[in-house]
Amino acid sequence: MLTRLLILLCAVIFAGPINAQTGPLRLTITDGVIEPLPFAAPVFQAENSAAQTAAADLTRLVAQDLSNTGLFREIPPSAFISQHASFGQTVAYADWRAVNAQALITGAASVSGDQLSVKFRVYDVFSGAELGQGLQFTGTVSGWRRMAHKVSDAVYSRITGETGYFDSRVVFVWESGPKDKRLKRLAIMDYDGANVQFLTDSAALVLAPRFSPTGDRVLYTSFESGFPRINVLDVASVGRRQLQTAPGEMAFSPRFSQDGQQVIYSLSNGGNTDIYRGDLNSGASTRLTQAPSIETAPSLSPNGSQIVFESDRSGTQQLYIMGANGGEARRISFGDGRYGSPVWSPRGDLIAFTKQNKGRFHIGVMRTDGSEERLLTASFLDEGPTWSPNGRVIMFTRETQGATGTSSLYSVDISGRNLRPVPLQGGASDPSWGPLQP
């Protein structure tokens, strides 16, 4: 009886379909979204001949951003009854209803010198009304991808009521060479794998970069000296310095606090690894854990009051939560297998983690009390989750098996749907997803 009730309850929670459209267009993102919302994006109007290429490129990238979320489905232009010729003209809603478009995105671009302007409007086809107001962005022609992502973010936000994640960057480890001679370098890219830029050379092994909350700096672990040390790198200048830590034989696994002024990290002495908190300005550090086991991979809650971390104090790797100043920790992971690399979601409600069980690796999420564990992926080796700025998507490392095994980046929705590789040339690991850009 209880079981039946639970199943019923879960069905209500998880199986909510796309809201049938009774009011204005609104896609409520639930775990049950199965049928993507159809949209039409006729090629943006080029307001001068210099804008022809940009208008086409912008339209294509906006449609790609939206389609790749798995929440939207583009209606192929070949199906259109009317091509939306002139931006701002009266919309022939009937023509768009006829091809089952629920949302219509129109836009226009103009180029003047190296300046590109794009404006766009979103229409709710079934209500026959504009959704929000027209917006215009101006930037450089070479920065057209960012402008397309900004349009996508605005469209996503208007239809779902949530902030987007398209105009964001990811710092990661670029990998090349065979498994036993692997070269690793820090690199940065757009969320969709475009515009890769290197931040370090391959002279020293580097691991696990972590973005600052504003995306201006990166913390990472470097083996420059042969001993793991934490570096702070300025993204704009690629200047870097070693982080001052408490005295220790090794320092690794750093993360910024929400204000970007403090760093939580692991420090090792005499075979033992514990968690510390350091102040970037004063260089002073406080020890937060005092156990003979391995305490590592700390991640602060968005409000800064708690830290989730992993420890093998119970005999195997498990997840624990303690106060931001240390003290007693409570275990939150109790399922089969081992749990590691926890990351607090930007909304504060979920913890993403790596789970290792019966020779397989998974990326999963659970509530902060350990309940409602859900495994989103399964493979030979998945690890190192990072959250999209809006907490809807997780990016992680997937490594393939065997002598020719390589690493690459994947993303998956927190519903477990929409697993897709991040398109990159070459190997990649340890992504850290930065904030939406201003």
């Binding site: 060479g177 070269l183 083996f223 042969g226 001993f227 090792s268």
Partner: protein, 168 residues
Amino acid sequence: MHMMTKMAVVGLVLLSAACTRPDRFTDGSNVGGAGGGLDQAGVNDPQSPQFFTQTIGDRVLFSSDSSSLTEQGKVVLAGQAKWLTDNADYLAIIEGHADEQGTREYNIGLGFRRANAVREFLVAQGVPETRMRVTSYGKERPTQICSEESCYAQNRRAVTVISIASLS
């Protein structure tokens, strides 16, 4: 003055190259941490580093998720301790490693535990602690690349790398 201008121009060129090229770095190599290639000449000379590395053995292996020394490992380490005692000019860096079955951070902690177990054994055998340093490469530097236990067993290791150079 002319010199200054030239330097400024060179600086600008470098700067603009940095801005336009996705890769503003020359390629290097970060492969390390396994103890370099040694010739065979000294294998039979008990005072030589080659004797240490190859005849005594520079590494000990561990079972999965363990930092306990095996009986076989203790024999190797007793030999290392004697050699280090006899060759007091040498310093040692002990590198701990893990196989690929594990998360990145945990494996660094685990490799460190393994390296420290070796250090503690060598200290107990009379090697001064000041002559040793420990580090961990986690799962980053496998010597064997297959995804099977035969390879994993070789990768779960602590390697004692000796040198005459200063530790600092």
